[in-house]
C-alpha cells in the first residue's frame, strides 16, 4: 500500500506497487475474461460533471413552484385604476398591468414571467386576494391552484407562533449535505482510480489467455 503524491493525476501508487498490480492484471485469467486499463473517457467525465450540475439545478424548488398570491398583489391593485379602465381590450389591460407591476427583485420577476395570467384569471382570484390581504396574512404562504388561492401545502420549519412555515426556501440543508456528499464521492473516486497504474499502461492479454 505504498502511496506517492508527486504526480497525483498520474498514479498515487509507487512503481513497485504498480508493477505488482500490472503483473497480476496480465498474469491471470478471470474465467477467461480480461480487462483493459483505458482511461475514463473525457465525454464520460463531461457527462458526469453535467449530471452533477443538472442534479442541483433541476431539483431546486425555484423550478416547478406554484405561483404565490403575493406575486399578483400589485396586479390586483392596478386592475381598477383609471389607466387600466381606459384601455379597451383585456389583452391591452393585461399588458399594461404586467409592465407596470414588474417586481424589482429578479427572483420575483422570474416567477412572474413563468406564471403569466389573463384578465379572466385575474378576475377569478382578485376577490380572494383582497380578502386575504384584509385578514393580514402573509400572501407568500398562499398559492394559486387553478381558480383557487389556497394555503400552500408545504410545511417547513416552525414559526414563532408554532405553526409551520408555508414558504419554500430555494435552498435548504438537504442541498448543503449534498454538496459535501458529492464532493466526498468525487475525492474518493479520484483516489480509487488514481491508485491504479496510469492509463498509458496497456495490459498484454496474451500473457494469461
Amino acid at each position: 500500500m505504498a502511496w506517492k503524491f508527486d504526480k497525483p493525476l498520474h498514479s498515487m501508487s509507487d512503481a513497485e506497487q504498480n508493477k505488482k498490480a500490472c503483473d497480476v492484471w496480465e498474469g491471470e485469467s478471470l474465467g477467461g475474461i480480461a480487462e483493459n486499463n483505458n482511461r475514463v473517457p473525457r465525454a464520460v467525465i463531461w457527462l458526469m460533471v453535467m449530471t452533477i450540475v443538472t442534479a442541483f439545478a433541476v431539483t431546486n424548488p425555484l423550478w416547478g413552484q406554484r405561483p404565490t398570491a403575493s406575486l399578483y398583489v400589485d396586479y390586483v391593485k392596478l386592475m381598477d385604476s383609471p389607466q387600466v379602465q381606459a384601455i379597451a381590450t383585456d389583452k391591452g389591460k393585461m399588458e399594461y398591468i404586467v409592465n407596470n407591476a414588474k417586481s424589482s427583485d429578479s427572483r420575483t420577476l422570474g416567477l412572474q414571467d413563468r406564471h403569466p395570467l389573463t384578465m379572466d384569471d385575474l378576475h377569478v382570484i382578485k376577490d380572494q386576494i383582497i380578502e386575504l390581504e384584509n385578514k393580514g396574512v402573509d400572501l407568500e404562504e398562499y398559492t394559486i391552484i387553478g381558480p383557487y388561492v389556497q394555503l400552500a401545502n408545504f410545511e417547513g420549519e416552525p414559526k414563532a407562533d408554532g405553526t409551520p412555515s408555508r414558504k419554500q426556501p430555494f435552498w435548504d440543508k438537504g442541498y448543503t449535505i449534498d454538496i459535501f456528499y458529492v464532493a466526498y464521492f468525487c475525492i474518493a473516486m479520484l483516489i480509487v482510480i488514481k491508485r491504479l497504474p496510469d492509463y498509458s499502461w496497456k495490459p498484454d492479454h496474451s500473457v494469461a489467455h
Binding site: G31, V40, V58, G174, D178
Partner: protein
Amino acid sequence: MFKYLFAKNEDIPPGTAAVYFGFSSILWFVIGTGLGSFNAAKLAFPDFVTGSELFSFGHMRQVHVLAVIFGWISMAFAMAMMYITPALGNTKLWSEKLGVWNCFLWNIGLSTGLTLLWFGVTSGREYSDFPWFIDLYIASFIALPMAINVWMTILTRRTQGIYTTNWFFGAGVFMIAIVFIVGNSPEWFNLTGLSEAYLTWWFAHNVLGLWITPIAAAIAYYTVPKVTGNPLYSHRIGHLHFWSVVVFYSTPAAHHLMSAPLPEWLKSFASVEGVLILVPAIAFVSNLLLTMQGKWHMFVENVEIKFTITGVLMAIPLNMQGGFQQTRAINWYVHGTGWIVAHAHLALLGFSTFLEAAAVYYGLQTILRRKLFSLALANFHFWFLLIGFSIYWVSMTIAGLIQGAGKIYEVPYIDVVIAEHPYMIARWVGGTMVFTGNIVWLYNMYMTAKAGTEIPEGRLPHELAYER
C-alpha cells in the same frame, strides 16, 4: 433435485444448483407474466372473471409483482451467481449442496408466500407485502444461504484479482440482506405513520437500486466480454460504476414521497441523489458499449449479446426517466399515474429481464454442454419480449400522461378511465405477448436440456450457434 438434496457435496455435479435455479426462474417468469397478463385483462375488460374475491385485482396484483421480483428476477440472479462467481474465480461453487437446498427452500418459501398473499394474508405495504414470518423465512433460508455460497466462493477463489462482476455479486447479497431486514422493520417493530411510509419506500427503492440494478449490470459485465471475447473496456469505469451505485442509489428513498410531510431538506437531498443515479448509469452503459467495439455484428447474430445489449440500451431511457421523474417539477404531474407503472416495467421487464435472460440462456447451455435446441425459437422469444414490452411501456406511458392531466385539471375520474381504455387494451396485448414468448422460452430450454446437440470439450455454445 430430490436425489441431490441428501447426496454428498462432492457427488453433486458442478453447475447443478445453477441449472435448478435457471429452470425455476424461467418457470416463475411464465407464472409471473401469466398473472400479469390476467391482471391486465381485468383492467382492459372489467367484466373479465368477476364474482370471486380471490381473482379480484386487489388479490392478484401483488402476487404478480412478487412472483416476478423474487421468482423470475432474483432466481435468475441466483442462477447467474451460482455459475459466474466460481467461473470468475477459476474454482468451483463453494457448496453445490447448499445451492441445491437454497433453490429448493426458495421455491417452497416463495410458493407459500405467494399463496398467502393470494388469500389476502399481507403486510399491506407495497413491494414488502409478505407477512413477517415469510420475511423472516426469506432472510434466513433464501438470502443468507445464497450470500454464504457467494462469499465463500469468492473467498476460496484461485485468483488474486476479483473481477468487477464478483464485486457486485459479493456486495449485492450483503446489501439485499440489509435492505430486507431494515426495510421490513415497520413490521418487526410495529412502526406506523411516516416512519412506515419512509421505510416501505426505502425498501422498494433499494430492492431496485441495491439488488436488481447492480446484479443485472454485473451479469452484463460477464456476458459481453465472455461472449464477444473482447476485454472489458475499462477497469476504471467499473470502479466508478460500482461505487456510484453504492453511494447514490442507497440514498434517494424520500423521492418516492415528494408529496408526503417528510422534512423538506430530506426531499431536497434525496432528489439531488435521485438525479445522480445517472452517474452509475453513464458509467455502465459507456463501459459495456465500448467493450463491444469491433463485435457489433454479434448484436444481430448472437442471442446472448442481442438480449444483453438491448438491456444495456434500455438503461438509458430507464435512468433518464428515473432520474428526472422524481424531481419536484415533474413528480407532481406523474406521481400516482400509469407513467410510474411503465417506468417500473422498463426497469424490471425491460432493462433487467433482458440482461438476466442472456445469463440464463448462456448459463444453461454452458453447464448442460448442450447447444440451444432452436435458435429460431430464441429469436421468437426475443422479439415477442421486445415488442410486447415496448407496446406495454408506450401504452402505459401515454395512459400515465392522460392520468396526470386528468389529476391536475380535475377531470372527473370516470372520464379519465374512458380515455385510458384503449391503452389498457394495448397493455394487455403487450403483456400477453411477453407471456407467450416466455412459454416458448420454457419449451426451448426444456428441449435444449433434453435434445440439444452436445457441445464438444473446449468449445463455447455461441461458437456453434450456426453449425448444424
